[in-house]
Symmetry: C2
Subunit: 403 residues, 2 copies
């Protein structure tokens, strides 16, 4: 039972209880994942390398992760009863999306279940106003902001513009975010609790993934640099390592580390940051889970973000975050004006690229902007990385075919 030798007495007790109840399963931990999207799917691909029994809950039984787990439960991850009953018989739970029922996770944590990340982290993250306050409270550099509760309050802050208005709760993947450059844009703002962030001059958008083990041990992945599609506010390319001066890189790593350490929670975290032209680094937001900005780690790093999360959950030593090669990651996104059964036009052509790895998420339906897959290119020549990434972007189109 080597994966238990380093456990605390409390966890050992949990294990013993489990063993009495289900002796035939004592070598395999039962781990639940809330959410069944592509992150869950890739997490399950990595799970098959370890002795673990996997459980997934999602409200769509055809979701990308539904067929790669030992047990699938159709349920609402935002519903207390669904989450609580799902988690009650498991050893530990993790998430692949933040928007889950935190009350249920808190109740499960009180009963001794291990939750990655701890529910307290989700409380902080899930509300952008609380998240901002967390950065301020912990002296973590972040852009200036004001909390607004309605359009009238927003109008009172004309002097604060240009700014970005972000819904405090419920935003995801570019939804719930409005750029308010000038007075005319105020009508686009939110008439509910939102964070108005002063627009900063961004030289580079970067992200750092950090792994935290059960005893607080930490491993940091090299910073990545993102290039966004401005229209969709979705990632276009992502380079690893980020092209940053050493001092900015160190600053980014130190800030990301402080951000994550103060959560006091095991798990895997993506800290998204802005590097300004003056060499400052500001935290934009944090995701306490496997994340789009860690996809390249599957092929380009020794321990992928998915492998790493299993190591954490199963209480194994943390993996090696070092890069095997430089890399670029390209999201494969549903084309504008296309909806219906997904058809991957140009897939055969891009599959000829000799140093590219493709991940098609198996979503039957495409729609404009939907994340349908990604590709990672590995090479130690930056020019080759960008050339192939552009080739994929210009060749592969996800179209929709009506039924």
């Amino acid at each position: 039972m080597p994966n238990y030798t380093k456990r605390s007495a409390k966890n050992l007790y949990t294990y013993k209880k489990c063993c009495n109840r289900l002796p035939y399963l004592c070598a395999m931990q039962k781990i639940g994942i809330l959410g069944g999207g592509q992150l869950g799917r890739m997490l399950l691909q990595a799970a098959a390398n370890y002795p673990v029994e996997t459980f997934v809950m999602e409200n769509d039984k055809d979701c990308p992760a539904a067929h790669l787990c030992n047990h699938f439960t159709e349920g609402n991850i935002r519903d207390f009863n669904d989450v609580y009953h799902f988690g009650k018989h498991l050893d530990a739970l993790t998430i692949e999306i933040e928007n889950v029922n935190i009350d249920a996770l808190e109740a499960l944590e009180k009963e001794g279940k291990r939750i990655y990340p701890r529910p307290s982290v989700l409380r902080t993250i899930c509300n952008k106003a609380i998240q901002k306050k967390y950065y301020i409270d912990n002296q973590i550099p972040t852009s200036e902001y004001i909390i607004t509760h309605n359009i009238t309050e927003l109008e009172a802050h004309k002097a604060f513009l240009p700014a970005v208005h972000k819904l405090a709760e419920g935003g995801y993947d570019g939804r719930g975010v409005q750029v308010i450059r000038k007075t005319d844009d105020i009508a686009k703002g939110y008439d509910q609790t939102a964070v108005l962030e002063k627009m900063v001059e961004v030289q580079k958008e970067i992200a750092v993934m950090i792994a935290v083990g059960n005893s607080g041990e930490i491993a940091i992945y090299p910073p990545v640099q993102m290039i966004f599609d401005e229209k969709l506010n979705q990632l276009d390319f992502q380079l690893c390592p980020a092209d940053l001066p050493e001092n900015v890189k160190w600053k980014a790593e130190a800030i990301a580390l402080t951000t994550v350490k103060n959560f006091n929670s095991p798990g895997i975290f993506a800290v998204e940051m802005f590097a300004t032209p003056e060499g400052n680094v500001l935290v934009n937001e944090t995701a306490p889970r496997v994340h789009n900005s860690g996809h390249h780690t599957i092929e380009a790093h020794y321990s992928s973000q998915f492998d790493m999360l299993w190591r954490i959950i199963l209480n194994y030593p943390l993996g090696n975050t070092e890069a095997i090669s430089s890399s670029v990651m390209v999201n494969i996104i549903g084309a504008e004006g296309h909806q219906g059964n997904a058809v991957y036009e140009g897939l055969e052509e891009v599959l000829k690229i000799e140093n590219a790895f493709f991940h098609i998420y198996g979503k039957k339906q495409t729609k404009p902007g939907r994340k349908m897959g990604h590709a990672t290119i590995i090479s130690n020549e930056r020019a080759d990385l960008l050339y192939q990434a552009n080739k994929i972007k210009n060749t592969l189109t996800v179209k929709g075919k009506s039924e």
Copy 2:
């Protein structure tokens, strides 16, 4: 529908038929795998990168592949009806073990199903006497042999010793093989149809994996070198690339290529060969499927053997067989004297090795010699590869715990 554009008219017809019947699935091919062991498991991990609907048949609903497919069928892969009914509604089938019902696959092939490899290849491979004749008929170098049908016949060939006696049918993973060095050993021989192969002086055991696409296009992986555990006749380490003089390497590749080409079948093939001290290369045997000698390709090569087989089945371009790094693969095998629920002693320790990747197959029960997992180490320093491989071998033990 890009993955159909290169199809022959016949396949296009199959596709259209499928589309009329199941229009909502027309973007996803339905692919069946006969056998649900670790090879199936890793094949399914790779399947999750492509738009494909997977089906597995195996007689154990807790087999390593059972929970990673879209649809699992409990059935006997050696039974005509089970295989035929399993395959009837699929677009294509593949195998992860040769010992399947070939009659059923032939019937399905006649009905237009694509089978990887073609059943004719299985007919040749599944009987070691026919396999040997295939090598001779195609001028492929192989060790001298005699077919024996009983012990009496075996006794008549004392002058042929030392030799290896191999059951013509039913042997697998070291079973059905007896070394007959001298007259005293004859009693260990088989009293049924078997191949008596003259023992050759083997300097190195090597293997070459080859991929063949639907139009006959071919990709070759670099030769690997194997070191066997003599007691179990099971792989101990496997080095890639093999440490061979250039001319022997070319000979091995050319012989493997001839072996595979003459099968006239798409699929993935492992050709196992002996390199003699004189620089000759002899084919030992061929496996027309993903194979133990290709495990290292998951992390050490651009397109793994599993990725490659999906590319072939889905009619995509072949992948890149080039190595990202040199590698060594270590099988993780059930310890002698241990049977019962698998416990991985030393797993935490070996998981600290920074350039090693682990694959635990999720088999609940261990027994002596059972393949329970493997590890691949990547490094361009041969000494480091061997050091870490030995460390894993000496640290990790799969013990059994009685229930």
